[in-house]
């Protein structure tokens, strides 16, 4: 087999063909953690029916979907999650799972190892139990997550440890990264926090301080994990992945992606195919170009900014206005590295 091909070559083709290639399914909004930064409305308790999910998988396969991410809430609160994953794998769809991992059992992980999933993602905020418990509002959360990570390592499940960086744990990612390197896990830390899906801004109260953010951004750059400045091309689409992705939440609402809660359809009213091909709201966001970002066109930070229309929509109820949190990070990048790069 060729080693020269990577997954981006599939998505480059999907982008050209405007083919739905990636789907996120929120199988439940319920969760046994109550993380302070979480974008999910924690008072909701929705579950998609098994038959509904199976129908979505069938339709997704026919539409050209390669990757499905099952997320929550907490996916392991469903008794049938293994059956759902098995069904998707029997359809030869790549499967990723997002879970807080606190409910993993050895039997489950062993079964998962025979299904060859692409990735199991879990969240860890700190190796300090007190901090982790404070953020998750769940006693003993670190211990549970670490036990699960041991199982994932034992059964060789490709694992990504996500580290959302808040003001509480903003300086803890280096230790987690070191732990991940020792155990063969991918570590992904980010200071980006999303407003809640119902537009609640409580998660933003936990944004890192400016000092923490400077240290984080500097550290990312030292590790070559930062590609700024970029070229701000007015003719380019604002977000490439909107051309090949969709997300369905546990109440059936369909969104352009898992971070962009602008409803473009509902699977209980329409087929996935019709939403993908016919939704004028979806087409509107897919066709957006940088030129429409009036606030950004003359902004001195635009080449340092990782603008996301989804975050902007959460913050402003408009996906074309300046995103406060993206601009904040762009300003820090500019202050830290603007002088060393001639922009």
């Amino acid at each position: 087999m060729s080693n020269s091909v990577d997954i981006s070559s599939f998505y480059n083709e999907a982008f050209k063909a405007r083919q739905l290639g990636s789907l996120t399914i929120e199988v439940t909004s319920s969760c046994n953690f109550l993380c302070r930064h979480c974008y999910v409305d924690q008072s909701s308790n929705n579950f998609l029916e098994y038959e509904t999910i199976i129908g979505i998988i069938d339709e997704a396969r026919d539409l050209g979907v390669l990757d499905i991410l099952f997320t929550g809430g907490e996916i392991l609160l469903r008794d049938d999650i293994l059956e759902i994953v098995t069904y998707a794998r029997e359809k030869h769809i790549r499967v990723s799972l997002m879970s807080n991992s606190s409910l993993l059992t050895e039997d489950f992980v062993k079964s998962l190892s025979n299904l060859y999933i692409s990735e199991f993602s879990t969240t860890l905020f700190s190796l300090d139990n007190e901090k982790n418990d404070f953020i998750t509002r769940s006693r003993g959360s670190t211990h549970k997550i670490m036990k699960s990570l041991e199982l994932l390592e034992k059964y060789k499940i490709p694992t990504r440890v996500k580290v959302p960086l808040l003001n509480i744990n903003g300086d803890d990612y280096s230790l987690i990264e070191e732990y991940c390197n020792q155990h063969g896990f991918t570590c992904a830390s980010s200071p980006v926090i999303f407003p809640r899906k119902d537009k609640g801004v409580e998660p933003l109260e936990h944004l890192t301080t400016n000092e923490q953010l400077s240290r984080i951004i500097t550290s990312f750059r030292e590790k070559d994990n930062d590609s700024f400045p970029i070229v701000f091309n007015k003719k380019e689409r604002i977000c490439k992945s909107l051309q090949y992705s969709l997300a369905i939440d546990s109440s059936g609402k369909v969104f352009p992606c898992n971070s962009f809660f602008y409803e473009v359809g509902n699977i209980f009213n329409d087929s996935l195919k019709n939403i993908w091909l016919e939704s004028s709201k979806l087409r509107e966001v897919q066709d957006m170009t940088n030129e429409q970002l009036n606030d950004c066109n003359d902004c001195i930070y635009n080449v340092w900014c990782s603008f996301c229309p989804g975050i902007s929509f959460g913050e402003n109820n408009s996906f074309l206005k300046c995103s406060f949190s993206a601009k904040r990070i762009a300003e820090v990048r500019y202050k830290c590295f603007g002088k060393e790069v001639n922009v």
Partner: protein, 84 residues
Amino acid sequence: MKIKEYVSWQEVNKIVFIFDERNNDILKLEGLSADIWKKCVCENLSEEYLSYIEENFNVSRFEATQDKNDIINDLFTKEIIDNE
């Protein structure tokens, strides 16, 4: 036709991408190879694929067989290969 359990695949722009999840490897098939894959997987063909390929792609039976074997490698279950 039953593909091995560790294989993921999808088609886009008439190109077939096959992912070997066990070995973290990717195969990209175009033209004749992509068509053979789809015929084998989607239409459950075993014997008919050879005549289909001969008719549609103007290649010899030998070439077609070789190409298919290259693609199949170990991606299909052993019994299917034996059945050929």
